[in-house]
Structure formats: C-alpha cells, structure tokens
Symmetry: C2
Subunit: 256 residues, 2 copies
Amino acid sequence: MSTIVDLPTETPEQGSSASHQGENTSAPETSLREATQTWIREAILSGRYQGGEKLIERELSEMTGASRSVLREALSHLEARGLIVRQSFRGYTVAKLSTRSIFEIFELRASVETLAAELFAERASDQEVEDIGIAFEAIEAGIHANDLKKIRTAKDQFFGVLFAGCRNSEIRRALENVIDRISYLRSQLMSDPRRRQDSLVEMRLLAEALQDRNRVEARAASLAHLESARDALVNQLSVAANTKVAKAITKVPRKS
Amino acid sequence: MSTIVDLPTETPEQGSSASHQGENTSAPETSLREATQTWIREAILSGRYQGGEKLIERELSEMTGASRSVLREALSHLEARGLIVRQSFRGYTVAKLSTRSIFEIFELRASVETLAAELFAERASDQEVEDIGIAFEAIEAGIHANDLKKIRTAKDQFFGVLFAGCRNSEIRRALENVIDRISYLRSQLMSDPRRRQDSLVEMRLLAEALQDRNRVEARAASLAHLESARDALVNQLSVAANTKVAKAITKVPRKS
DNA sequence: TCTCCATTTTTTGTATACAAAATGAAGAAC
DNA sequence: GTTCTTCATTTTGTATACAAAAAATGGAGA
C-alpha cells in the first residue's frame, strides 16, 4: 500500500516555483490585480462578507481603488478557486457552505491532509522539523494568551511549514483551496475555549509525530484532528442555528 | 480507519449545484467569458499550445473573437486553475510540467482518486453503476476500433460518471484541476498500442470492482491503474526525450 | 391597503482607449 | 566585424465608455 515514493529532485526550483507562483506569496505583491484579489479574499476570510452575500462591483472598486477591469480579473480568479460564484447578469456572491459541503471538504481533507502529514514525516528537512516545533509552541502560547489573532497566525504558520515540508506543491494547492473556503469558520470554532483545549491536545500529538518523523502516528494524529474539528464545527452549527454565520451556511436563497 | 461516512443529504440541489456551477457544465455556455475560457482550455488540452508557449492576447482575441476584457477574465480564471502562468509584463504562458510535477500530480491522484473509487462503490446509484459499465464498453470499443478520439471521449465519460457517483463535488473539483494539467499527455500515452492494452485490462478490473460495489477491490484497481499510467508516462518521457512534447515538459526557459 | 404594471435606476456585460513596460532593430562607435 | 546605444514597435497594464439586463421605485386601479 505504498503510495509514497521518492520524487525526482531534478529542476526543483522550476517545478515548485512555477507551480505555486501566483498564489499568495505574500512577499512582493506585484500587480494591482493580485493585490485586489488578496484584498477581496481577506475580506471574505475575515468574515467581512458573509456567505451568500452579493459582491457589488462599484462598491469593491471604491474600496480597493482598482478599476473594473482589474477587479473583474480578480473576481474571475477567485471564482475559479471556488470562493465566490457567479450567476449570469446577477454578479458574484460569496460561496455558501452547506453542511454537506463541509462534510465533503473534510472528506477530501481526510484523504489529502493525512497524506501531507505522512509525506512531511518522510521528506521534511531538519530545519522544517524544527520549524514545526516552533510553530506549535506559538499556537500553544496563543491559546494560553487567549489571543485569537495570534492563534490563527500561528496555525497558518504551522500548516504552511507542513505543506512545504511534504514537498508536493499540488497537495498544497489542492488543500489551500478547500481550507480557504472554510477558514472563516475556523475563528468561530476557536472562540470556544473547550474546543481550543481539545485542538491543542490533538495538535500536540500531530506535532510530536511529525518531529519524530513517525509516518503512522502522523497520519493517525492528523486524521483524529480533522474528524474532531469537523464534528465540533457541525455541532456548533446545529446548536447556534440562528446566528448569522449559521444562516450564511445553511440557507438557500428564496427567490432564485 | 473509516474515512467514509454517510454525508448529510439536506439541500442537495444547493450544495452540489452551487459547488460545481461555473465549471464545465457543457450545456448552456452562457457567457462569452466562459466560451472563451473553454476555447483556450481546449486549445491547450488538445496540444495546440504546447507547454511553455506564450499566449499572445491579440492573437487569442482574433481567434476567439472576444475583446480583451473578456479574454483577460478567461485567462485569469485559467491561471487560477493552474493551466497557465503569468509573469508581470510578460503575459501568460502555458504551464510547464516538470517530471517532478507529474510525480506530484500522481501522488495526489493516488490519494484522491482511490478515495473516489471507494466512495463510488459505496454511494453510486444503480443507474450510475450501470453507466460505468456502458462507459467501459465504449472504451473497449474505442480501443478495438483504434480510434483515439473515441477512446478519449469514452474515458472522459467514465471518469465523469465515477466522480459524479462518489457524491463529493470537492473531490471532483480537485481532481478535474490536476487531470486537466496532464490530459494533453494522455493522448501521447494512448498512442502506444501496448499501453492501451494494459490500460484496458486495468480499467476492466476497476469497472468490475465498481459494479460489484467492492470498495477494497475498487481502491486497489484504481491505485494499480494510476501507478501503471504514471510509470508508462515517465518511461515514455525518458525514451522520447527529444520530441517536442518532452521538451515542453522538461525544459526550463533559458533567458528568464 | 394591496396588487400590478410602467418607468427609473442600478448593475452587469462588452468594447475601446491610453499609458507603461519590454522586446526587437537599426545605426554609430570601436 | 562586433558591440553598445538609441529609437520604434509590440505587448501588457490600467482606465473609461456604452449597451443590455435586472432590480428598485412609484403610481394607478381595484
């Protein structure tokens, strides 16, 4: 059952740089289009625009300062990533997450993210193994400090190192897309102190397995964390069925 | 180790239609942008534009009849899907596949596509099980008739049914993207009669397992097929290292 | 007060125009 | 003959304009 093989190492710079170029390589922010895109993405991920909400071009244009040409390119890009959807002559709306979508996403993640964990254990550099430890400690510190923003940053860091260490930019790309779609829910989840504590325990197991380069344990810990996060998310949704977040997730438009 | 659970069935029309809307739902081809996008995509997949080749806007504009606004939206969309890459002030080029990328893609597919096969065995409707059989017979007929185009169409059909039957549009989305990227290589592969024969045998095993709804066998057959296809592809590349296809795959630009 | 229809306004779809950057070519200096 | 510089052309980046479709508004009739 070995799906893990040694990948060829030739032309590594070409393979990976070409693959995730144009993604969120936060560094240079070359074109206006990319900046606009990032702005909109951040606005959605931070919850400024809720699921199902309409994105009005004039409004975005004013806020970002970009012209409509640029704006529409950015929107088209985000549509391809699944973050927003377009209907003919009705413009773009923020993609809605049905409960079903959440299950689907976690089903995919359960397959791919566990693979990523295994691959990290196998392929990560010593530096990356060290970085995983550092990132985990940052998460821990954030939780103790009760600092939501810090937690989120540290988690992004953690998964960033994880995906880099697995040496497969296709996995990174596939996961980035689905994680984007649910990431504005993550902060909702993390606001529950008990869930935070559970999450910390699960992630410690994962971090330790990764640092030990223990493939089997890493997969198991990753899967456990995912299932736990999924269940917590679905639970919270069914409990808080009246909050605006829940409405943004579960409801279908009435007059479509 | 059960990553397979029963997905909730609520709001199925919303969940799925919203999820893969705006993809290649070949039916209505509403907007000009989508048509343009499809045109470019087809041009790349059919090999009309080779990997690394530059896409000149004026040229595409003339060929598709679309204005630059529309064209650029389409290009932006395709960039997000990874089919083309953009460099500042140097326009778009068709994404190149390094050997490494191919390994990465197959590594991802080995994880996700086998899951899709399992899920199909579990969840597909009786109609879909039947359709899988029909699609397979079409592939068989195509191979016997030695009709490359027919083979390709039938295979698309087969995987279309497979992805639909697994009831997870996220999986479909993730796989569509990576399969797009290597699909212009598939015809190269299929031109080798021996590989065609091998492929047929592997796919028969897969089709039979799917029709028997045998999860374990389905996964095994899917994995076997993938590894076989990957190896054949890599083999062919190293053999025919001087063909234009190989050049499009392996070489890095000299003056970048 | 409610409902239906016509008109106005907003918003999207498409096309064109102008500016900036990069590429390529011709000519001058060596 | 070669190389460097300068200029013209091409191509991309950005902004604006116009047309078509949908949504919002408001008034007339019941």
